[in-house]
């Protein structure tokens, strides 16, 4: 299937500063794509190029194979990290205005606004000024504004910030529903558990370069370290030619909890066979790196000289 969006060797500079250096991405249709990276890595620059707020200095963006053009504006919905609405404008008017700027007719927009307003329980607030709404409600209005024109590509920059857990879940379900209806979603976030939960593919950008991308499962696979967590009862040999015990914790009544890494050529079954022959096994689990760990590791690798900002877990 043709990708919904491709970035080919995109480059962007601001004076001396290189914001994007030769970044290429391929975002599959009808998927949720996690765009990760520390602050200032170049995510926003890339998003602004896709949304045509700025132009790239080199390379190109393709939407379903077509070179990015002004007509694609109506196909893209963008929720920026810096939220903003006209404070003195009524909720209903505001949504209508933003929808019409995306090319919707007045009647179409009015109908859709009504449906979304009901769905998000905002009906009593339609005639209120935006500044009279709570932050969470403003965020909901902003989310509606992003998806009102039914864009096929939706870019969400930190969509969960400012939401309480209940509303964050509501938004999450809406995002998944939009994907199921056929939209492609680009999710830029520092909430790694959301990435694990929702994303089909990810890309990691650091210091204006893409340092990692692919399906979440593949990425995790490549970062597997053949490390296992073992709990049981008995005495475990600490030195063995086939594996290495990284951590050893003794518990009461002869119980233990070890972290074991296999040496190359050893399979988990080899380890299990050894364990079964020597101790009583209570738990055996592979330690698969979380996206969070991968993120930190990869960023550290590509940015050794500076401090890395910890992602919000």
């Amino acid at each position: 299937m043709q990708p919904a969006l491709e970035a080919l060797n995109v480059r962007k500079t601001y004076g001396e500063h290189v914001a994007l250096n030769d970044v290429s991405l391929e975002i599959p249709d009808r998927s949720i794509y996690g765009l990760l990276g520390p602050n200032g890595a170049g995510k926003t620059s890339l998003i602004r190029i896709i949304t045509q707020i700025t132009g790239a200095d080199g390379g190109e963006i393709r939407i379903r194979g077509e070179r990015l053009a002004p007509r694609h504006i109506a196909e893209i919905g963008y929720l920026p990290e810096e939220r903003g609405l006209y404070k003195k404008m009524k909720v209903g008017e505001q949504l209508l205005y933003l929808a019409r700027l995306k090319g919707l007719s007045r009647t179409d927009a009015t109908q859709r606004i009504k449906a979304w307003i009901q769905r998000f329980d905002l009906t009593p607030w339609v005639e209120k000024n935006v500044e009279d709404l709570s932050k969470g409600m403003q965020q909901k209005v902003q989310f509606i504004a992003t998806v009102l024109h039914e864009p096929s590509i939706i870019i969400l920059d930190e969509p969960f910030s400012g939401f309480d857990p209940i509303n964050a879940n509501l938004i999450k379900d809406e995002i998944l529903a939009l994907r199921d209806k056929g939209a492609t979603i680009i999710l830029a976030t520092h909430r790694m558990e959301s990435v694990e939960e929702m994303c089909d593919n990810i890309a990691l950008i650091n210091r204006s370069r893409k340092v990692l991308d692919g399906p979440v499962s593949t990425v995790k696979d490549t970062f597997r370290t053949q490390t296992y967590s073992v709990e049981g009862k008995g005495r475990l040999m600490v030195v063995h030619p086939d594996f290495e015990v990284l951590e050893h914790h003794e518990r009461e009544n002869d119980h233990f909890h070890d972290i074991i890494r296999l040496h190359a050529g050893t399979t988990p079954n080899d380890l299990l066979r050894y364990l079964i022959g020597n101790v009583e096994v209570h738990a055996f689990r592979e330690l698969i790196p979380s996206i969070n760990e991968i993120f930190i590791r990869r960023v550290r690798e590509t940015m050794p000289e500076t401090l890395v900002e910890e992602p919000v877990a």
Binding site: R48, I73, Y78, G84, Y86, L98, L101, G103
Partner: protein, 462 residues
């Protein structure tokens, strides 16, 4: 999406027009204008309603007091007695003043004349008395020097200078320097106020959009140029609406108020015309009634007859002006000037984060505007064809004000064409610069903006 520009302009227009402050300003200003007009009319009429009565105690023995000419504003009433008794009587009377002409008052030494009043003597009253006495004394002196009464009458002239404007085709036009200057001044003020008031609104509007962080949402839908121009045009609409309403309401309110006093005004004007020839027998002997009226007008310009005749000459002068050129030119410079400055104000709003930082960038933009106004109403108004006028009406930053000041005086067509062409070039140039600054500035936060930084923005690739 070209329709977006109009959507933006529409929103900018409607949100502002619907504001309560717009309504208040729209109603308040005409009320102030009307109140001011009322005040002036009130003064004009009350001035004519009251005739000051001045008692005259004439001890000179030369029948000077009897010969003092009463006017609409001042009536001289001879009284008899000693100074002491007359003073006492005066305090009890309703008279406004007491003029004392002492014994031995001679043409050679006109000293010792005193004017008593119940409060401070107003300059106006004092001058009226002095004028009346002056007239008597100078006539007497001329008679004494051997002039016959006939010669003296013949010497009296009543000069009314009609200024004629010769245009290139040699056609004569009736011009009235005062009316022309008045129009020039009014047009310049209108443009100046409009640019300032609504230019600042553009700047604030952009600043608000920036600080509310809606720019990124907007720019993912519309081009920054559309956003900027939509705002400028929308606010221009607000301004035009407000000016139009002000004009209509001011005229309405003022005419409503003057209507209340209109009967009085025309009545006083008529009685004055009728009363003067009869009331002043000496003058009536030598001059026609109408001339008396105009002679009086010269002395007291506040009276309604003068106002009527002056208004008449304004209309007369208007007919002699290049009205077509003024109207077309005004519209061009009004819009051109507003767009040129509006774009720059928009750029400032986009460049700075904080409204308080606007000052340093406001200055170089407002300076040519203020300068062209100040120099305009002083130097150019006095010498509308001089070199200062010429150059300032060519530079796009000063021409909107400088040229409209020159328009009523007549401007050679080639100068007008050149100036308009330069204005258009200047307008395109500033909009280009402003759009570039705007485009980068609206998404730039937390950066200290310097001119160096701004100039870099001009060359950022879109």
């Amino acid at each position: 999406m070209p329709s977006n520009f109009w959507l933006i302009a529409q929103r900018e227009y409607l949100t502002r027009v619907k504001k309560r402050s717009f309504l208040i300003m729209t109603l308040l200003v005409p009320l102030v204008v009307a109140a001011f007009g009322f005040f002036i009319v009130k003064i004009a009429t009350s001035d004519n309603d009251t005739q000051d009565v001045v008692q005259v105690l004439d001890m000179s023995g030369q029948r000077l007091g009897a010969r003092l000419v009463s006017t609409k504003q001042m009536q001289f009433k001879p009284v008899q007695g000693t100074l002491e008794t007359v003073k006492k009587d005066y305090l009890k009377s309703e008279a406004d003043g007491l003029l004392y002409l002492p014994a031995g008052l001679s043409l050679e030494a006109p000293r010792g004349v005193q004017l008593y009043a119940k409060g401070n003597v107003s300059i106006r009253k004092q001058q009226a008395v002095e004028n009346a006495l002056d007239k008597l004394f100078s006539e007497d002196k001329m008679l004494a020097s051997g002039l016959s009464q006939e010669k003296l009458d013949a010497l009296k002239t009543n000069i009314d200078v009609a200024s004629i404007n010769l245009d290139e085709s040699g056609k004569e036009k009736n011009s009235n320097a005062l009316a022309t200057s008045g129009i020039a001044y009014a047009l310049a003020l209108l443009i100046y106020l409009f640019i300032f008031m609504y230019g600042v609104q553009i700047m604030r509007g952009v600043g608000e959009e920036k600080s509310s962080r809606i720019m990124e949402v907007m720019l993912s839908s519309v081009k920054p140029f559309d956003l900027m121009m939509g705002k400028i045009v929308g606010i221009a609409g607000v301004g035009l609406t407000q000016f139009l309403l002000w004009g209509i309401l001011s005229v309405g309110a003022t005419s409503a108020i003057t209507a209340l006093f209109a009967d009085k005004l025309t009545a006083t004007a008529k009685t004055e015309m009728a009363a003067n020839p009869g009331g002043t027998e000496r003058a009536a002997q030598v001059m026609g009634g109408a001339e008396v009226a105009s002679a009086d007008n010269a002395a007291t310009p506040a009276d309604p007859a003068a106002a009527v005749s002056e208004r008449f000459s304004v209309f007369k002068a208007l007919r002699g002006l290049p009205l077509g050129m003024i109207v077309v030119g005004f519209v061009i410079y009004f819009l051109g000037g507003y767009l040129l400055y509006g774009a720059l104000f928009g750029a400032i709003g986009a460049a700075v984060d904080d409204q308080t930082d606007t000052q340093q960038f406001m200055f170089p933009i407002t300076m040519p505007l203020i300068l062209s106004y100040i120099i305009g109403v002083s130097v150019i108004l006095r010498n509308p064809d001089g070199p200062v006028a010429f150059w300032m009406s060519m530079i796009p930053f000063t021409s909107p004000i400088a040229m409209v000041i020159r328009l009523p005086f007549g401007v050679p067509v080639w100068q007008l064409a050149l100036s308009v062409a330069l204005l258009i070039v200047g307008f395109i140039g500033t909009v280009w610069v402003a759009a570039r600054i705007y485009r980068v500035g609206v998404l730039m936060y937390g950066k200290k903006i310097t001119y160096r930084e701004l100039s870099k923005w001009l060359f950022y690739k879109g």
